[in-house]
């Protein structure tokens, strides 16, 4: 890689080097070789300390027995990992219960978070008066944090005082559904709240994708006599494929990282049935002071998500053939 600084050299329209030596001969001297590194330095310090170092440190922690309160932090090899996979360890049952809870939430929420926003986007993807307003309204819950929506929905889903059971009663449905304290209601609540909270986000991403599909394709399809469904099936869906892959991948990751909703709304209930992996990791590491085991769990968790993401890409690539 060239070590002279040349503005525009990175772009395709840069003049050939020969011209650069005469016209730009002064610039490298003035700017100095250090310039790019000086521009990068502030961010790279942050990135090194809070982006790269934690990765290395996480690996190192995971092979130690690390208690914040004890001076001795002995090397234990792969024992922390073994504990996660051998059924005679104290943590095995709780860990896999958390993995199971996370899997249940992901499997239930992702299809809805992919399909509902697509419906919203299709509804909004034409020009009519009020379009911008409706788009803003559907997106609005997303700008609120999980703390706000968590408190709000814990109240709305309160079996006695909540609005949801009140509305159910008005509609002639059972007025005493235990939304927060029994299965399957707790899962329905967590998934429902998440769909309400984040659908606007995915819808906006879909809308951008829909606007990239050429109107001529739709016109051509219409001329060919395609019905609305056929246009959706053969023009919209293929045109959205890259955006769909992005939405599915990021939604799987977001759902697998769910924490605040179950921490605040169901508070893990019933029992610890809705306690997710992220929650279990921070509890183990920061409340129970076992940073080594929590680090091992973090790494296993990150690997599981990597496998899920790769599987997504694979699935979509094959479907393209």
């Amino acid at each position: 890689m060239a070590d002279v600084i040349e503005v525009g050299a990175a772009r395709g329209d840069a003049p050939p080097p020969a011209a650069g030596t005469s016209r730009r001969g002064t610039s490298p001297g003035r700017a100095g070789r250090a310039t790019p590194y000086l521009f990068l330095a502030p961010y790279l310090i942050l990135f090194g300390v809070f982006g790269l170092l934690p990765i290395v440190l996480g690996g190192w922690l995971s092979v130690h027995q690390w208690d914040f309160q004890l001076p001795n932090r002995p090397f234990v090899g792969l024992a922390n990992y073994r504990d996660l996979f051998s059924s005679d360890s104290a943590i095995h049952a709780d860990w896999w219960a958390a993995v199971r809870a996370t899997a249940v939430f992901t499997v239930l929420s992702v299809p809805l978070l992919v399909i509902v926003p697509l419906g919203l986007a299709l509804l909004l993807n034409r020009s009519f008066p009020g379009r911008t307003l409706f788009r803003a309204v559907y997106f609005a819950p997303y700008v609120l944090g999980v703390a706000v929506i968590g408190l709000l929905w814990r109240f709305l889903l309160d079996a006695n005082l909540g609005l949801v059971n009140r509305l159910a009663a008005m509609a002639g449905l059972p007025p005493d559904t235990p939304w927060l304290t029994a299965l399957p209601w707790a899962w329905i609540s967590l998934v429902g709240v998440t769909v309400w909270w984040t659908s606007g986000f995915n819808a906006v991403i879909y809308l951008a994708g829909l606007q990239d599909i050429s109107a001529e394709l739709y016109e051509a399809a219409k001329v060919d006599g395609a019905t609305a469904w056929e246009r959706f099936r053969h023009v919209t869906l293929p045109g959205l494929r890259p955006v769909l892959l992005f939405v599915i991948t990021t939604t799987v990751l977001a759902s697998a990282n769910m924490f605040g909703q179950s921490f605040l709304i169901t508070q893990g209930a019933p029992g610890t049935e809705t306690r997710t992996v992220v929650w279990f990791i921070v509890e183990e590491g920061l409340r129970d002071n076992d940073a080594g085991r929590a680090a091992a769990m973090s790494i296993v968790f990150a690997l599981m998500l990597a496998v899920a993401s790769i599987a997504n890409f694979r699935l979509f690539r094959y479907r393209e053939d």
Binding site: V7, R30, P36, V137, A226, F259, V278
Partner: protein, 299 residues
């Protein structure tokens, strides 16, 4: 890109030759139907937020009524009074902390990410490929899996229970650099080259040419960074402890623990935490929505 040739294979409906009939005999009816759906959906998204506001204006007894009443009767400042005169749960202090933290965080992201992104987009230097690959690589690591080691690092830095701990570490996120680099690459280079010929330094070009041209992207990144920081929950609940150091999200958790089913108070806290971001959303809606849709297109 798949070509739509397959469409011709579809069974051509007998009425297909007359496109006008496809829209149905009554477009006005269809339009009314669409608006009915749009409004019904809007109610689903808005009712919970309106209910939050209504409840925050109720008295304790009014909020305990079964079944709940729609309107606050009487309209009461009870919830807000509880919040404002409460030394154990200093909500105003949390509000201030959140405001300071989110603002400083957004400024830090803007400063560091814009400089780094400019170098990566416009300069050639040894190691550029490796550095960019490392930065992009971390986009694929779930942030939650780094919480334990990051906790140890901020503990070592003596940042626990200070505002610094919620301002600085999050600025290591790769998103800002990635986002601005894409934007800088899309800028035409002519103005910069002209400035260079006029003898401007890299810093002058960055500061006087590139940044002014990038105002929309910078505004988008600032708003998104502010929102993310204002709403962050998982990290602050474990790194802030003292009641007067909390930001709003962990504070609201504390409030729920203290007031349990005293919903007017809890909802008043939630309203207070929502108002700034909702105002920001109304003012900067275009930036937020553009930022989100552009983050999707990079995929």
């Amino acid at each position: 890109m798949t070509t739509p040739t397959t469409i011709t294979r579809g069974p051509a409906p007998t009425r297909g030759s007359a496109p006008a009939t496809e829209r149905g005999p009554a477009p006005a009816l269809r339009r009314t139907g669409r608006y009915a759906v749009l409004v019904a959906l809007a109610l689903v998204f808005l009712t919970p937020l309106v209910w939050m506001l209504i409840t925050s204006l109720k008295t304790y007894t009014a909020a305990q009524r079964i079944p709940p009443t729609w309107l606050p009767d009487p309209v009461s400042g009870y919830g807000y009074e509880q919040i404002l005169n409460n030394s154990a749960n200093p909500v105003l202090r949390w509000f201030l902390n959140s405001m300071v933290a989110a603002t400083l965080h957004a400024l830090l992201v803007l400063a560091t990410a814009s400089m780094a992104a400019y170098a990566l987009a416009r300069m050639r230097f040894r190691g550029r490929g490796v550095i960019f690959a490392l930065i992009v690589g971390t986009l694929f690591i779930p942030p939650a899996s780094l919480i334990i080691p990051n906790f140890l690092i901020v503990d070592e830095l003596n940042w626990l229970d200070t505002l610094t701990v919620v301002v600085v570490p999050g600025a290591a996120s790769a998103f800002g650099v990635f986002f601005l680099r894409q934007f800088f690459l899309s800028l035409p280079g002519e103005v910069e080259e002209a400035a260079l010929l006029d003898g401007a330094s890299q810093w002058q070009i960055f500061w006087k040419v590139v940044l002014p041209l990038s105002k929309p992207a910078l505004a988008t990144l600032a708003v998104l960074s502010f929102l993310t920081n204002w709403n962050d929950f998982l990290w602050p609940i474990y790194v802030l402890f003292s009641p007067e150091m909390l930001t709003l999200p962990p504070g609201l958790g504390l409030l729920q623990g203290a007031y349990v089913t005293d919903y007017p108070v809890i909802m008043a806290g939630a309203v207070l935490a929502s108002v700034p971001v909702l105002i920001l959303f109304v003012l900067a809606q275009r930036h937020i929505i553009q930022g989100v849709s552009r983050s999707g297109l990079k995929g």
